[in-house]
């Protein structure tokens, strides 16, 4: 339960950790665009080089980075196998009905796998290096234009941050209730599937009740502190620094490089 990689912040003090969250989100988008613009292995190599630099600058343990990939491993393997077997090409090594393995197929699946892995690593880099609070602040700030069409940006950001904040609390609560029922002899590990699902009722009912209770209490606490006033100011103001400028230049260079490589070297197959 405790090793959920999703959205897990890894505390450290590094160049990447200190970047402005708004820019980090934009960089992620820019990077994803770059991956999709890259049409050949040179472009991907450039993307990979930039990502390796970013990971090095973030001081994340390499194991953490690979753990993120492990989560998407099934998807990666599935994509690779499907494309390997169904992509037709000129140089065929083996074929059986509609299935065939060709040189082009191998290259194309390698291309897709590299893309996917880069995607997973760069998005996990964002959640590893940005606290959930900073992330929602950044999203709120980036969505500001939507306020013009009366979209409740602030409420959305608040819902997101409360949801993120409650994930560990609810997991802890689940663990506690599970332990309490285990102490009363509940068995969650054996029996047929139907029995196993039924065994979760003693966890789900108290968990739901406590979630509602918490929501009520939080609502009351917020109201007691006059939440809902029109004007709100931020406790932590986001500011750009020289790091952000440096990173922005790097991102622009990456996009330019990938576009140039696409124009001059063309597609892979």
């Amino acid at each position: 339960m405790k090793d959920v990689a999703f959205g897990q912040y890894y505390p450290a003090d590094s160049f990447v950790h200190r970047l402005d969250p708004r820019l980090k989100i934009l960089f992620l988008i820019a990077y994803i665009v770059a991956i999709f613009v890259a049409s050949n292995f040179y472009g991907l190599a450039l993307c990979a080089a930039v990502l390796i630099l970013a990971v090095a600058l973030s001081r994340l343990p390499v194991g953490k980075v690979f753990r993120a990939v492990r989560g998407a491993l099934i998807l990666v393997i599935f994509t690779a196998v499907i494309n390997l077997l169904f992509h037709s090409g000129k140089t065929v090594y083996w074929s059986c009905g509609i299935l065939c393995i060709s040189k082009e197929g191998i290259l194309f699946s390698a291309y897709l796998v590299i893309r996917l892995v880069l995607l997973v690593i760069c998005s996990s880099l964002l959640t590893y290096t940005t606290t959930p609070v900073a992330l929602t602040d950044g999203i709120e700030s980036l969505l500001t234009p939507l306020k013009w069409i009366r979209f409740p940006v602030h409420a959305l950001a608040l819902i997101m941050s409360i949801a993120l904040r409650m994930i560990p609390t609810l997991m802890e609560e689940t663990e506690r209730i599970k332990n309490a029922q285990k102490a009363r002899g509940a068995n969650f590990e054996s029996g047929n599937p139907l029995r196993r699902v039924k065994a979760f009722i003693p966890i789900l009912v108290p968990l739901l009740l406590s979630a509602f209770r918490r929501a009520d209490e939080l609502g009351d606490a917020m109201e007691a502190r006059c939440y809902g006033g029109k004007k709100r100011v931020k406790y932590k103001k986001l500011r750009f620094s020289w790091r952000d400028l440096l990173a922005a230049i790097l991102a622009a260079a990456l996009i330019a490089g990938v576009v140039l490589l696409r124009v001059y070297l063309g597609e892979i197959v």
Binding site: P11, G185, I203, P206
Partner: protein, 306 residues
């Protein structure tokens, strides 16, 4: 059942930046028939300690342990942890943990939040059903539930068919306790059983524990913040601080050295405070810090002086 703990350590989220050492080389023994107190500041490891007692937190198997800790040059490898409850060896993977949990009942903090069934009857019978081999006899089950409810001071005929969520806070807690003691565990572990109750509710819970101690459950282990509770009830108490065991003493000796407890951020019972206040005024009172004993000691002294 005798509980033997040697060199017990536990770390939450090991090998991450969040790693917290919750228990550090704890060694103690709890004899059968004791009313054993566990006290300590928040985060001192006392809850982690009691969760070991019925196998909710397991000892790492010996093989894993050898891999994890590389002995440094020049110093001996740490002694292996031992955790035994009666005949159950909790370090052994083959131990029947269900049988263990039947003999070691565990009442968590705010146990009323674990109620889930549609009726009080069903909720109390939950543990009974889980621990019985095959289908339990409905007559016997009803009898056991009736008995458990009556010992916690509730009337079976009145509340058995009610929803547990319609009861008052104190009633809910007693139903939850009934749901644990219904299987007649030999050892009953309670984590802050009186937390959040009013003074009357607290007293009722403590009276209930005295009713079941010795007869229904032989040994009682209680985690508490309330030093009055410890002074009044316990045969001995263990003091935890930052995962380490500071001492294990009977209350009569423990509260004599008030400075040690206050240094750890802990309170002392009212009687001990009074003894200190009287000592400042030149009156020496010798008692075991129970209210009754304290009053008797004060009266005896007054009688002698006049």
């Amino acid at each position: 059942m005798r509980i033997v703990v040697e060199h017990l350590s536990y770390t939450y989220q090991p090998r991450t930046p969040f790693a917290v050492k919750a228990l550090d080389d704890v060694t103690l023994t709890i004899e059968e028939g004791e009313f054993f107190g566990v006290i300590g500041h928040t985060g001192s490891g006392k809850s982690t300690f009691v969760q070991h007692l019925n196998g909710l937190i397991r000892l790492p198997s010996s093989l894993k342990r050898q891999k994890k800790i590389k002995p440094k040059k020049g110093c001996l490898p740490p002694p292996p942890p031992v955790l035994k409850v009666g005949d159950f060896d909790l370090g052994d993977k083959k131990t029947d943990f269900r049988a263990l949990r039947k003999s070691v009942g565990m009442v968590f903090q705010y146990p009323e939040y674990q109620l889930f069934a549609e009726t009080v009857k069903e909720d109390v019978a939950f543990g009974l059903k889980n621990f019985s081999e095959g289908k339990p006899d409905p007559r016997q089950t009803e009898e056991a539930v009736r008995e458990a409810l009556s010992i916690v001071g509730l009337d079976y005929d009145e509340i058995a068919d009610k929803s547990p969520f319609d009861l008052s806070g104190g009633q809910k807690r007693r139903v939850a306790i009934a749901g644990v003691i219904v299987t007649r565990p030999e050892v009953l572990v309670l984590d802050e059983p009186a937390a959040g109750l009013d003074p009357l509710g607290k007293r009722e819970i403590m009276q209930l524990l005295h009713r079941i101690h010795g007869s229904w459950c032989k040994t009682i282990v209680i985690v508490s913040h309330d030093m009055d509770e410890i002074a009044e009830n316990c045969t001995r108490a263990a003091v935890f601080s930052e995962g380490k065991l500071v001492c294990v003493l009977p209350p009569s000796e423990l509260f004599r050295d008030a400075g040690r407890l206050t240094d750890l951020g802990l309170d002392i019972p009212l009687t001990a405070k009074l003894v200190l206040a009287l000592r400042e005024r030149g009156v020496e009172i010798d008692c075991n810090f129970r209210t009754e004993d304290f009053v008797a000691a004060v009266l005896a002294r007054k009688g002698g002086a006049s």
